[in-house]
């Protein structure tokens, strides 16, 4: 396939690699990049805080007599925003009201639990980015991976250890198939992967909804679309004891990060993928099969997203629902972008977004601030990361510091 179809792919692979968010400015230093990410996070948090403040009940009340006592409005605004963010911090990092050290650190483990699927799916998106492909389909890949993992989990009955391995393999396989299909269609027909992945997300969603209405898949006696619970042997063991939800899936995420880093930086396959992403024509001239690269990278990306689905099924949810992927597949895109498509960048971005999510739940219950603010902050961060004026500012700053 590679030899015969490769020469004609010129016009669909000539897009610039998406790893470079903004064109130009190659003088960006490492310090500048880090500073810029921090700036983006801070700016997004400030804007989010403003949004919380101006929609707050007390603030609106105080604004009614703004010209008489402007201080009231400002202090109400401060209280609304800082209260929400403090609650978020309590839910995501450290709870000062905890009775024991374990209680106080519970939020941190929650953050890592939520971060696990984000990191895994984010790695899948990042890997595809590096090969010049937009993998918008992590959502569908998670769903199919989770479905296969859940099926193996509740219908096969294997000894402990072996069962979990089978579940993980099934999840990875499911995601890999759903991703690989995209690579294959793109390689053979030149169809754009953005369209294919978006469409396959919805196909997956409907497929899972249909499966969950079948007698073999739906939990007996339940009228809701939910599968039977997976066997105990199919679950990831808890990492820090039963008190915490954190499970061995997180270790899988760490290992996956190491593996992707090795793959990209040290392996031949990774080199070829990066070459395809950086300049497909040059890669082809150098004898690398671009079309095979598409298939390989989408298989791997799907596999990683499938592992994210496995982490959901075998780690936290223990049964399949059509909402099992939540919005992890879309968040994974923002995670990969914030992590600049590097494995460890994605890892830490995943933890940051995990913290937002875990903290958001606490914030909503403590201060009543709607959790959707998290989506706003997350997307603003990515926009600011990509915003060139901010890049220029950060670069200049870091150059001044360096000088």
């Amino acid at each position: 396939m590679s030899a015969s179809t490769a020469p004609a792919t010129t016009d669909q692979v000539s897009a610039p690699p998406p790893t470079e968010l903004a064109a130009g400015d190659h003088r960006r230093t490492l310090l500048g990049t880090a500073l810029q990410s921090v700036l983006a996070v801070v700016t997004a948090l400030i804007l989010g805080g403003l949004l919380i403040a101006i929609t707050d009940e007390k603030v609106r009340h105080a604004a009614g007599y703004f010209f008489a006592r402007p201080g009231d409005t400002l202090s109400a605004m401060w209280h609304a925003a800082s209260g929400a963010y403090a609650a978020m911090f309590h839910g995501a990092v450290y709870n000062p009201d905890g009775a024991t050290v374990a209680d106080s650190l519970y939020p941190l483990t929650e953050t890592l639990t939520v971060a696990t699927p984000l990191i895994l799916a984010g790695l899948g998106v990042a890997l595809a980015f590096r090969a010049g492909l937009f993998n918008i389909g992590a959502q569908g890949q998670i769903l199919i991976g989770a479905t296969l993992a859940a099926w193996v989990g509740f219908s096969w009955h294997l000894p402990a250890g072996l069962h979990l391995l089978a579940v993980v393999a099934a999840g990875a396989l499911g995601g890999a198939v759903w991703g690989g299909v995209v690579g294959l269609i793109k390689a053979r027909t030149g169809a754009h992967e953005v369209i294919l992945t978006i469409m396959l997300n919805y196909v997956a969603l409907n497929l899972v909804a249909w499966l969950l209405s079948l007698p073999g898949f739906q939990r007996e006696g339940s009228s809701n679309p939910v599968s039977p619970a997976v066997d105990g042997t199919a679950m990831f063991p808890k990492l820090l004891g039963d008190h915490f939800r954190l499970h061995w899936g997180f270790v899988v995420a760490v290992l996956a990060t190491v593996a992707v880093a090795w793959l990209l930086e040290r392996s031949t396959v990774g080199f070829e993928l990066r070459a395809v992403g950086a300049n497909p024509r040059a890669a082809r001239t150098a004898g690398i099969s671009v079309t095979r690269g598409f298939v390989v990278v989408m298989l791997l990306a799907g596999m990683l997203a499938g592992l994210a689905g496995t982490a959901q099924v075998a780690g936290t949810e223990h049964s399949l629902t059509s909402g099992i992927a939540a919005s992890f597949g879309f968040d994974a895109i923002t995670v990969a972008l914030l992590g600049r498509s590097t494995p460890w960048g994605t890892f830490f971005a995943g933890i940051l977004y995990g913290a937002f999510r875990a903290g958001g739940v606490t914030m909503q219950s403590m201060t009543g601030t709607n959790i959707d603010i998290v989506l706003v902050v997350q997307s603003l961060i990515v926009l600011f990361v990509a915003l060139p004026p901010l890049i220029t500012f950060a670069t200049r700053r870091s150059q001044e510091v360096a000088a």
Partner: protein, 447 residues
């Protein structure tokens, strides 16, 4: 370049989304222009028709119900009444299969691009065959054609606007993944503005303005700062979903009376025309937005193909450098088109809160933006094509709800999947070839 070789795809049902074996059209792609001029032999149409014939045989004919299917054309209150049509499911399915096989044979002998009447006939046979088959499987095999079509048009309305908005962006070279965001923000702004002002017309304007706001962000990031267009689109979708969700929960929900009880747009029934059987209730008994939709499709088509602006837009979308050389300001034109596209998509957003439901709810567009994107692609980046594709998708989702009401054993999820599977087949080149503007997605930098 080698000529395309034909390999026969394995038979598969319409629900299969697997990889499609077939000739590598990459090779064909490069020579497609030459193909059209010289008329190189191709077996692709024959294969496509063969698949349709096979589905018709395996599904419609072999699994046909033994009952007759009743299609109702008139309601009780109609002035002009048409008799109901009764079709025996099994013979009809066999007839359709035979016609499709004959067409596939014709295509195989001819081995060229097919004339339009063949495509139209095949499409008609397959769709009606499908309809007869699926209604036949229902518990009550009787369906009102008028209700089916009228509902399809209503469901298609936001899709048409979304697809047209996307089309204006994409034909000038800006990929618009943010149609979903534009629809959602349009719906949101329309609800608030119509409630606060007490006028649905103000809501309509606000929907356009709100959607343009999303376009402004898209234009600033994608054109001015050359951030990758797909990324901006995806992020804007998340941003608008989060923003409207947050504001809905904190502002709209607690004080719904003040912000979220919009006036509805009037429903206009055109006298006389609306009395025409079937056509009347479907086309001439509509919300105001429905009539705007007809106008919008016509205007966009005319403007794109018959005006100077349209020529420039297409030039910028296909070859920006050439257009620039001839004095067209590429990025200015792209910016204008993106903003204009936002305004058009906003009208589709208004449909949600001013016509179909009378209040905004969280994520109420539910992925319609992505279906609109699919319609745009399936309609081959052409206004009329986008209209027809939207109608087809609206038809599919309306059929889904009607059939679940009639009680059919075919799972509704497969009907819901239809637009997406059809789009995958379209971009993969199985159902015609769907190719976007050449420079779509590439930021332009003047040298």
């Amino acid at each position: 370049m080698s000529t395309a070789t034909a390999s026969q795809p394995s038979p598969r049902g319409p629900g299969a989304a697997g990889p499609v074996p077939g000739p590598a059209p990459d090779a064909e792609l490069a020579t497609s222009a030459a193909n059209r001029a010289v008329g190189v032999r191709t077996y692709r149409p024959a294969t496509g028709l063969g698949v349709l014939a096979l589905v018709s045989f395996a599904v419609f004919a072999l699994h046909a119900s033994s009952r007759a299917v009743r299609f109702r054309f008139s309601g009780d209150g109609d002035v002009v009444r048409l008799p109901d049509a009764e079709v025996a499911a099994a013979p009809y399915a066999w007839a359709v299969t035979i016609v499709l096989v004959a067409l596939a044979g014709y295509a195989a002998v001819r081995a060229r691009k097919l004339p339009r009447w063949v495509v139209a006939l095949a499409g008609f046979c397959f769709v009606t065959g499908f309809l007869v088959w699926i209604v036949g499987t229902a518990q009550t095999p009787s369906i009102s054609v008028t209700a089916l079509l009228a509902g399809s048009v209503a469901l298609a309305t936001p899709l048409v606007f979304g697809a047209l908005g996307g089309l204006l962006c994409e034909r000038s070279g800006v990929v618009n993944i943010a149609i979903e965001a534009q629809l959602l923000f349009g719906a949101f702004s329309a609800a608030i503005a119509a409630t606060v002002s007490g006028s649905a017309w103000v809501g309509l304007l606000a929907a356009m303005a709100g959607s343009v706001l999303v376009s402004v962000l898209l234009a600033v990031f994608a054109i001015r700062y050359r951030v990758n267009q797909v990324i901006v689109g995806v992020v804007l979708n998340v941003l608008v979903s989060g923003l409207t969700g947050f504001l809905f929960a904190t502002v709209l929900q607690p004080s719904a009376a003040a912000f979220n009880t919009p006036e509805r747009l009037p429903h206009v029934r055109i006298p006389v025309l609306a009395e025409i059987p079937v056509v009347g209730p479907v086309l001439f008994d509509q919300s105001v937005i429905g009539y705007i939709m007809y106008a919008a499709v016509a205007v966009v088509w005319f403007a794109l193909h018959r005006t100077r602006w349209g020529l420039r837009t297409r030039a910028v979308g296909e070859h920006p450098k050439a257009a620039d050389t001839l004095g067209v300001s590429v990025n200015a034109l792209r910016t204008r088109n993106v903003l204009l596209g936002g305004a058009v998509a906003g009208l589709g957003g208004a449909f949600y809160t001013l016509v179909s439901v009378s209040a905004f709810t969280r994520d109420m567009t539910a992925g319609s933006g992505y279906i609109a994107l699919a319609a745009l692609i399936f309609g081959r980046w052409n206004p009329v094509g986008a209209l027809l594709a939207s109608l087809l998708f609206g038809f599919a989702s309306n059929l889904e709800s009607i059939l679940s009401f009639l009680g059919t054993p075919v799972p509704s999820q497969f009907l819901a999947m239809l637009p997406y599977v059809v789009t995958i087949m379209a971009v993969a080149g199985l159902v015609g070839r769907s190719r976007g503007p050449a420079a779509s997605g590439e930021p332009y930098r003047k040298e």
